[in-house]
Symmetry: C2
C-alpha cells in the first residue's frame, strides 16, 4: 500500500465532515476520500442489518478508490457495524465510538457521564460498554436527541428552537449532575456553543471527532502508513462523493470546512 494513498471517511451525510475537519487539522498531510450516503440519510433510526449493508457497500467503494484506511465517521454506523467491518475487510478501520468513550472515561471525576446521540446509538449500548471497559465504576446517562440532526441539516445552528430542544433533551442529564457530556453524533459538535450554554462552564464536552483523528494519526504511524510527502492543494487532497443531492451537500460542506470543496461527485448506490 502506498503511503500517499488517501484515507476513506464516510457518514450518512454531512455530519462526518466534523471528523474529516479534525483529520485535516491534525494530520494535514493526509489525502481524504469522503463519502456521504445522502440518499439513505439518516442512519440514526435504521436497523443494524441495514447499517451493516450500507457500510459494506461504502467501504468496498472506498477500497476501489485506493484508500489505505477507513474511518467510520458516524456514531450510529460505528456502534452497529464496526466489528463486522473489521472482520470483513483487510485494512485498518476505525470508528468514532471507542476514542470518544476512552476520553470520557479519562475525563470524568464524579463518575457520571452524559451521552447524547441518535436513537440507534443509544439503544446499541456500545458507548456504555466501551466506557465500562475503561472504568467499570462510572454511570452513563444516555439521551436520544432525534431532532438535532434535522435542525443542523436545516442550518438552524443558532436558533431559539434549537436552543429549546437542546434544553429539553439535556434537562435529565443536568439533573443527574453529569460532569462530562459526550457529543455522540457527528453533527453535534456544530451545536457545541448551545450545549455549553445549557450545561454551564463546568461540564466537560467530549468531541469524539477530535479523539478519532488523534487515534488515526497514531495508527498510521504504528503501521508505517503515514504520508510524508508535501501538502497539496485542498482541491487535489480532498475528494467528495455523495449518493444524492450533491448541491445541498456542497453548500453545507463549504460552511463546515471553510474552503472551496470543488466538484461533488454523485454515485448511484445501486451500483455500489
Amino acid at each position: 500500500m502506498n503511503n500517499d494513498a488517501p484515507i476513506g471517511v464516510f457518514d450518512s451525510g454531512i455530519g462526518g465532515l466534523t471528523v474529516a475537519r479534525e483529520i485535516m487539522r491534525q494530520i494535514p498531510n493526509e489525502r481524504i476520500v469522503y463519502f456521504g450516503d445522502t440518499i439513505r440519510l439518516p442512519y440514526g433510526s435504521k436497523s443494524k442489518d441495514n447499517i451493516i449493508m450500507c457500510s459494506r457497500q461504502i467501504i468496498s467503494f472506498l477500497q476501489s478508490q485506493g484508500v489505505k484506511a477507513v474511518v467510520i465517521a458516524c456514531n450510529t454506523a460505528s456502534a452497529l457495524a464496526l466489528e463486522e467491518m473489521k472482520q470483513e475487510f483487510d485494512m485498518p478501520i476505525i470508528g468514532v465510538v471507542q476514542p470518544g468513550a476512552k476520553m470520557a472515561a479519562e475525563t470524568t471525576i464524579n463518575g457520571k457521564i452524559g451521552l447524547i446521540a441518535t436513537d440507534s446509538t443509544i439503544k446499541s449500548g456500545v458507548y456504555e460498554r466501551y466506557i465500562k471497559g475503561y472504568r467499570p465504576d462510572v454511570t452513563v446517562y444516555g439521551k436520544a436527541c432525534p431532532l438535532l440532526v434535522p435542525l443542523v441539516e436545516e442550518g438552524m445552528i443558532h436558533d431559539t428552537v434549537t436552543y429549546e430542544m437542546v434544553n429539553r433533551y439535556l434537562a435529565d442529564l443536568k439533573d443527574e449532575k453529569v460532569d462530562t457530556l459526550i457529543m455522540g453524533c457527528t453533527h453535534y459538535p456544530l451545536l457545541r456553543s448551545t450545549f455549553r450554554q445549557v450545561m454551564g462552564e463546568e461540564v466537560n464536552l467530549v468531541n469524539p471527532a477530535y479523539e478519532t483523528a488523534l487515534e488515526l494519526k497514531n495508527l498510521l504511524e504504528q503501521e508505517n502508513l503515514a504520508n510524508i510527502k508535501e501538502v497539496d492543494e485542498p482541491s487535489i487532497m480532498y475528494r467528495f462523493y455523495v449518493s444524492d443531492a450533491a448541491e445541498k451537500f456542497k453548500k453545507l460542506a463549504q460552511t463546515i470546512l471553510e474552503f472551496d470543496v470543488g466538484m461533488i461527485k454523485k454515485i448511484n448506490v445501486d451500483e455500489l
Copy 2:
C-alpha cells in the same frame, strides 16, 4: 383483473397512512396493500431520478402482490414520478397532487392559494402547473417546511416547538392573505389543528388525501374495478410492508389508523 384485488398505496413512511385512512373511510369495501419505504425516508430532499427509481421498484413489488390500482400517497413522489410511472405500468395509477390542486382551484375566492410542502415538491412546481391548468388567474405562494415531517415522526403533534415552526413557516402566506392553504405533504393533515390555529377560521384547508380517495372511488367505478363483496376484518383487509424499522412504523400506524394493524412485514429494498 379481479374486482376484489387490493389497492396498492405507498409513501416514504407513515405519511401516506393519512391517504390510506381516507380510502378506508370513503371506500370501505376495498382491500389495501401499503408499502412504507422507511429505509429511504425522507423523500422530500431527494432528486427526481432517485424518486423515480424508488417508485418503480415499489410499484413492481405492489404489482407482484396482485394490486388492481396504485395510489402514490406521497406528494413528492406524485410530483416527480407520476407521469413516468403511468407510462411504464399498465394499470391505473393516481397521485395526490392533481386532486389537491383541483380542489384548491375550485375553493379559492380571492385567487391566492398557499402551498406548504417538502422542498422537492415546491421546487417541482407541479402544484402550480395543475392549479393554473384549472384556473390560470390564481397566484400560488409556495413554502417548503422541512422540519414538519421530523416533528410529526417524533410524535410532537401538539407541542410548542411545532407551533413555533408552523408559525414561522406560515408567516409569509398569512401576509399574502391567501384564502386557501394546501396541506401538500401527507404528514401535514396530522397538524391540521395547528394550521387552523395559526391561519385563523377563515382560511380553507385543503387535504389532498381526502380528494384523492374520492378520485380513486370514481376511477374504480368508471373502470368497473370496484369491489362489491362484503367487508372483512381490518386484519384481512389491510396489509402493511416497510423497508425498515417495522416496530416504530407499527406504533405510529396504530395511532393514525386507530386499529390494530397486525404484523408489519419487512422487505429488503435490494430485492425489489
